[in-house]
Symmetry: C2
Subunit: 245 residues, 2 copies
């Protein structure tokens, strides 16, 4: 069945898909001070890869990214952000694909569409990995969360793609924070600092972090709730709604 599906989906001449263009998704998962990413493993090889795919002839590239992520991982409604297109000639290397195709008992064919040079459009997302449970379809052999600090060896330039996605996530965190929807409706400054420290991979100075966050003008401070030890209760915050911002 598996072979049937991949053969049906991707013809040796790539019919029905845009030539030479692919998609790769870096899905970061955050929870309890852990940062992970979602990887696919390929049967009969030691190769791990980002979830990726191709663009249909009449499909928007951004839609193709959502579709392939859903197909490969079972994750739907993930807010994907396009971040960079990887187009170095050096990323062209047919050997890993030949291994994967052999592992799927696909006939070796040096002229197969999958073995040509591809430019890939990179997307990233940041989700709560306890809420986004991968459920690979027939095309994927395994799809799991891996600790970002202990990644297995990735195929092609996927390590570079992960690194660039991480740099983009770090640089854009202030602007993307609300959209990622990673915190409960109300949270403490400590919760927010833990999120930042985990994603930036370094400890932050408490008072300058708080000053910088308040300077962003996206937080609303709520009244302290009576808790018996009120002088120790931290302030709760929530994100300002669009209309207040």
């Amino acid at each position: 069945m598996r072979e049937h599906v991949i053969q049906e989906e991707i013809q040796p001449d790539g019919a029905g898909f845009l030539p030479g263009l692919a998609i790769d998704c870096v899905i970061f998962g955050f929870h309890d001070n852990q940062l992970k990413i979602l990887l696919l493993a390929y049967r009969n090889t030691d190769l791990f890869a980002l979830p990726g795919g191709f663009i249909r002839e009449k499909e928007d590239v951004n839609d193709a990214a959502k579709r392939t992520l859903a197909q490969r991982t079972g994750l739907h409604d993930i807010y994907l952000e396009q971040f960079y297109t990887f187009g170095n000639f050096a990323r062209y290397d047919p050997v890993p694909l030949q291994m994967i195709m052999a592992g799927k008992d696909l006939p070796p064919d040096d002229d197969h569409w999958l073995l040509r040079r591809f430019v890939t459009v990179g997307y990233y997302a940041l989700v709560d990995f306890t809420k986004a449970v991968p459920n690979p379809d027939l095309l994927a052999d395994d799809c799991s969360w891996y600790d970002l600090n202990y990644l297995p060896t990735l195929m092609l330039d996927h390590q570079t793609i992960v690194q660039k996605a991480l740099e983009t996530l770090r640089a854009d965190l202030d602007r993307k924070l609300i959209g990622f929807n990673l915190l409960p409706e109300t949270f403490t400054m400590n919760d927010l600092q833990s999120l930042y420290e985990t994603i930036l991979g370094e400890p932050l100075h408490r008072s300058s972090f708080q000053r910088r966050m308040l300077g962003l003008d996206i937080l609303e401070r709520l009244e302290k709730q009576y808790s018996g030890g009120a002088h120790k209760a931290p302030y709760l915050y929530r994100f300002k709604s669009e209309s207040e911002g």
Copy 2:
């Protein structure tokens, strides 16, 4: 000669180039509180377009962007930043290309490679337009700076590409400021504020702008120079060098 060059460069089957993938460059020019962009005009049509091109079979996409910008405009050594890849199916429209090809006395050929669907990788740069003088080669009919507030009608989705580039430039200005190299070695806070106001397209509040700029920790304040009326002389600043930053 012109027809000879374009026919030599682009075969009807696109031989030598990656299929379906193009490049477009949004070159912003700044000087004396004016913001312009660089556009090409096509002979015998009313079409204006961003400088763009294609990627050779063994060429890095980023290198192709530099090469095509230099070929179309005569501008070399421009620091191009890749910002977004435009891949909507709706951008596929062969009519403008057919008009341009007819204007160049190219034989009409409905199956011509140029008339297929292209995904385009967008790049932007910001330069001093008095220092970057376009010098179109044989392929371009005209290449000039246009005021961003009075753009002519652009072909395909080039208006969308310009808008997205402008949003990216505005959002990234703090981070890219030094690299763009638009200010003299020393400058006043007013000079910097004028640059920001021109690019953001809105007036800024003087004291909060100054506070924000100083908070970026990229400026070094120099001693006031004696000027006869020292109490009115503004402070001069320069960008900190990497090692100090």
